[in-house]
Amino acid sequence: MPAARDIFHLGPSILLLQGKMEAVEAAGVAAATVQMDESALIRAAQAGDAHAFEELVRMYDQSVLRLALNLLRSPEDANDIYQEAFLRVFKNLHTFRFDCSFHTWLYRIVTNLCLDALRKRKVRKEEAPVVETREGILDRMDTLEEERADGDPQRHLLSRELQAKIRDVLAGLTARERLVFEMRHYQGMRLRAIGDALGTSEEAAKNCLFRATQKMRAALGDFI
């Protein structure tokens, strides 16, 4: 007979203490997650179904990690955002009332964490993260070549100089401009959804994107 499916199953295991959940019921809840739609997954996770929670995480976690990685350009910092965001989701899922989409709710958490991280970085005036190698000190993002979205080296047409310039310009944007730009350009989110996630209007998100693109055009115009 299958025991706890994985460590997420701790929730249902604990509920056994209350004498409310028979083994048959526990398995039934897990089985019911087959092909659940998102609302059903959320409700099941709210009821303590660890398997449903894991599926919910897997629906979004790649995008969250990608957003954090592109914003912070540090795998460690991106992982910190990932952990904190989904831990908050786990702890607060019972408060989710379907007033908005789960995506919006999740991205409110993620964007708040990212904005805090970007602001802290600005306050510390961090240099681009560097790593020591045999060849000397390199921008650590240069060591992540294999993780680039397009793995075909022939399509990496940009010179390192231009790549560095783009990263500088992005780093010079305000935290909000940076976030709106990342969500629109790399995550493909509509401005209305970005506004919802940031707790502002579509118009404000549009203005933010406009300022970001103006700055980039001004700084990179001569290189393109």
Binding site: A27, A32, R66, R148, A149, L158, H185
Partner: protein
């Protein structure tokens, strides 16, 4: 529209965020203005340059993050916030313990829980009887103890139960267990057996969903083949046909593709022509190609697209 106005709207144009009217105005202006056409080309080049610096997390980074999250959640689940949900059902009252002795008391409770579960007969630890009348021995382990206010202690006990069940595969509880076992990621043999048993209840929507899920997502071809067996009398069902089509084009196991095409061509429909022609472009298995060719021939369709 003036050049400056058009230029300001280029980013929103490229992101598809302009209103219909604004987009029309910008495009009309660009069509008539060579300078703006050049600027728009540069704006597109900037977009491409930005695309090229995008980072995507490597699969192993994602896997590590997921694993770390599992551990964090396991810890978070034992913290007091969750405890609040449990305390109503599991609060132990004991005589007040002097503060200095509280850690000793906590340790003693851990030891009692840990060894007690292993040394006492199951009947003393507690048992339940299910509907089928079987006693259910269980072992338990204290995972967490924390002295609370004087006289109280918090504990989290993990229980593992094993029981034998016998019943009809049509019984709802048994079926629920089989559905869960059919998705148990650790044991492909268990999944094969479970899917095999579920086949007889394929009329049930949950079972049909489970068979379709197994066919599409199970990593083990044996399980996928069992799922196909279960669906063989449902090959006219649109949901089944949709999944069969995906499997036919994407499954990496020739045996699975063979079964999939045999089921699909039982009902020849015009919509299949494109799928079969697509299949002919990349299918390497001789039998699948032969069946595919024959079906296209019978449907008076060309073997390839030109």
């Amino acid at each position: 529209m003036k050049c400056e106005e058009a230029k300001e709207l280029f980013p929103l144009l490229l992101y598809g965020e302009l209103s219909f009217d604004d987009e029309e105005l910008v495009e009309a202006h660009v069509a008539d203005c060579a300078a703006c056409r050049g600027d728009l080309r540069r704006e597109r080049a900037l977009h491409r340059a930005l695309d090229e610096i995008e980072l995507r997390p490597a699969p192993e980074i994602l896997a590590r993050s997921r694993e770390q999250l599992r551990r964090s959640i396991a810890v978070a689940a034992t913290r007091p916030s969750l405890w609040e949900k449990l305390r109503r059902g599991f609060t132990i009252h004991v005589h007040p313990i002097p503060a200095g002795l509280q850690p000793v008391g906590a340790l003693a409770l851990v030891a009692m829980g840990f060894f007690g579960a292993r040394m006492l007969p199951p009947s003393l630890l507690g048992s339940r009887t299910n509907e089928a009348g079987f006693a259910a021995p269980f072992t338990s382990r204290v995972r967490y103890v924390e002295p609370e206010s004087p006289g109280k202690v918090k504990m989290v006990v993990e229980e593992v139960r094993e029981r034998s069940l016998t019943g009809s595969v049509d019984d709802q509880d048994i079926q629920n267990l089989l559905l869960a076992a059919a998705r148990d990621p650790r044991d492909a043999g268990l999944r094969v057996e479970s899917v095999d048993l579920l086949k007889s209840s394929r009329e049930c929507p949950e079972v049909k969903s489970a068979l379709l899920y197994a066919l599409q997502h199970d990593s083990n071809p044996g399980v996928r083949l069992k799922a196909l067996e279960g669906l063989k009398n449902s090959s006219a069902d649109p949901d089944v046909r949709q999944v069969l089509t995906q499997v036919l084009l994407a499954d990496d196991n020739a045996g699975v593709r063979t079964q999939a095409i045999d089921l699909l061509i039982q009902h020849k429909e015009d919509q299949m022509v494109g799928t079969l022609q697509e299949l002919m472009r990349h299918e390497e298995n001789g039998y699948v190609r032969m069946r595919c060719q024959k079906a296209l021939h019978e449907m008076n369709a060309s073997i390839e697209t030109y």
